[in-house]
């Protein structure tokens, strides 16, 4: 990631403006609901959302919801993304297996996760397992597809060089294929984590008694617009932070993209 100091003047202005844009939306939201141009029942107001936030936080229920959702996302993500990376490597390495599985994978891939969720509930019960499986399912695809693509995109010329330098298969994988696949894997992971967040919220809306998704759905039933917004904002903020963390990890691992010397 680029440091603020490395940015050009125009870029700095644009980034500052992107923060200002959010601030302007918040300002309009507040003044609009205050003077009645915006519907306060449907939109609540930043002030009320903040109030609701401090209330929920004070009771400790918000932290609990966040923690529960976070745990589900992380568990499902680890299983799904892990399987995606492993299978991605295997299928890229064994083209025959890839062809063999192509029809099956092609059929399963377009199924929306939420169409499968009721089945998962039927099979694994309404508890944690079905939610974790649906999150694993959505995390799997982007990681799998990107990993496989990454392996295939490994530079043929570097592989040829490794051949000339008498490197064996294991050495080729470690020195050429793995490093060139890492940026692809991270692209997949970033997609996967945002989908996982989406997955957990929907799963919790349908069948849960805790978690951010449950908080939003419960607040809707109670017509508490402000706490619905609290839920939505939590998803936005946590999703943003998770993506940022992945970006930072990526720039540390893929130092050769950032020009950092190691």
């Amino acid at each position: 990631m680029k440091k603020w100091k490395q940015l050009t003047g125009t870029d700095r202005i644009l980034y500052a403006l992107s923060v200002l844009l959010v601030a302007a939306i918040l300002w309009y939201w507040q003044t609009g609901t205050d003077n009645g141009t915006l519907n306060k029942v449907l939109l609540s107001s930043p002030e009320n959302v903040l109030k609701s936030f401090t209330q929920l936080w004070g009771k400790g229920s918000l932290q609990k919801h966040i923690f529960v959702s976070f745990q589900r996302v992380m568990t499902g993500f680890l299983f799904g993304a892990g399987a995606g990376i492993i299978l991605g490597f295997i299928l890229a390495a064994v083209p025959a297996l890839k062809k063999l599985l192509s029809f099956l994978l092609g059929l399963i891939r377009p199924i929306p996760s939420m169409a499968l969720f009721p089945l998962f509930i039927l099979w694994f019960g309404i508890g944690e397992t079905s939610k974790i499986i649906v999150i694993a399912f959505v995390s799997f695809w982007p990681t799998f597809l990107n990993t496989e693509e990454g392996v295939q995109q490994a530079d043929k010329k570097l592989l040829e060089l490794a051949t000339v330098l008498q490197k064996g298969t294991v050495a080729k994988i470690l020195t050429v294929i793995l490093p060139s696949t890492i940026p692809y894997i991270f692209a997949g992971l970033r997609l996967a984590i945002s989908r996982a967040w989406g997955g957990v919220v929907v799963a919790e809306m349908l069948a849960a008694s805790s978690g951010i998704g449950f908080l939003i759905e419960y607040s809707r039933n109670m017509s508490q617009t402000a706490s619905m917004f609290v839920g939505v904002l939590m998803i936005a903020i946590i999703g943003f932070i998770l993506d940022l963390i992945l970006k930072i990890i990526e720039s540390r691992i893929c130092y050769w993209h950032t020009g950092e010397i190691k």
Partner: protein, 259 residues
């Protein structure tokens, strides 16, 4: 004369099939490179010169014929034969040191590896850049790293596949100078494949002219330049004209536009 690093190419034939047609890329190539000699191969693109080089390196298997290096037939890639490709082909995730160490073939301990790498860095003049990543280096410096990496394998034969084609004119001349120095110092048999006639004359003791469809050796020149190898001397110009004529003998050069 050194028998260990002599290269004998006999009756090499290479055919590729495209659809149901057979394309004859190389037809009966015979060439002998004495140990420690420098041979340049010039030809237009498509004359099979790179294919020939890949066969010598053991990267491609010829349809017929045989290449022997130091008396042993080439069957696959061998540590005795190094290649310098047109692209530097450095691993972007390795710094200069590690990229050079990547070329080492013998089993060595940490200290020996460090010493070898250090020597090579000195040799190619990259002191102070040990920790730099490829993307931080200029094209010429990347090429130096690639040369050092190739030498790390201690090859008896070095194949140069248009190695300076992508460099600017001045860097190119510098690198040619470096290669000549290395060749004189290390006694490695070198074979350069290029489409740059000047480069071929400047570097080679022999210049072999190839012509396409099918790829055959058309003529071979022995280059005898005075030791300073001036690119502007009259004898250099004589070779240039002679070799030039090989390419345009059956067609008078028609300028594409009139001044």
């Amino acid at each position: 004369m050194n028998r260990e690093n002599e290269v004998v190419i006999s009756h090499i034939r290479q055919e590729f099939s495209i659809g149901d047609k057979t394309l004859e890329v190389l037809k009966d190539i015979n060439l002998e490179l004495q140990g420690g000699s420098f041979v340049s191969v010039v030809g237009q693109s498509g004359c099979g010169k790179s294919t020939l080089l890949r066969i010598i390196a053991g990267l491609d298997i010829p349809t017929g014929g045989e290449v022997r290096i130091g008396g042993n037939p080439v069957q696959s890639v061998s540590p005795d034969v190094g290649i310098l490709f047109q692209e530097s082909r450095l691993l972007p995730w390795y710094n200069v040191e590690k990229n050079i160490a990547y070329g080492i073939q013998e089993k060595k301990n940490r200290k020996e590896i460090r010493d070898t790498v250090y020597e090579l860095i000195e040799l190619v003049g990259l002191k102070g850049f040990e920790k730099a990543l490829p993307e931080q280096l200029s094209g010429g410096m990347q090429k130096r790293v690639a040369i050092a990496r190739t030498l790390a394998a201690r090859p008896k034969v070095l194949l140069l596949d248009e190695p300076f084609g992508a460099l600017d004119a001045f860097t190119k001349m510098n690198m040619q100078e470096e290669i000549l120095k290395l060749w004189k110092k290390e006694g490695i048999t070198m074979m350069l494949v290029t489409h740059d006639i000047d480069e071929a004359i400047y570097l080679g003791e022999h210049v072999v002219v190839m012509s396409p469809k099918p790829g055959v050796i058309k003529r071979s020149f022995r280059i005898e330049l005075t030791s300073d190898r001036s690119r502007t001397s009259a004898e250099f110009d004589r070779y240039r004209k002679e070799i030039f004529a090989e390419f345009f003998e059956d067609q008078t050069m028609v300028p594409e536009y009139q001044i």
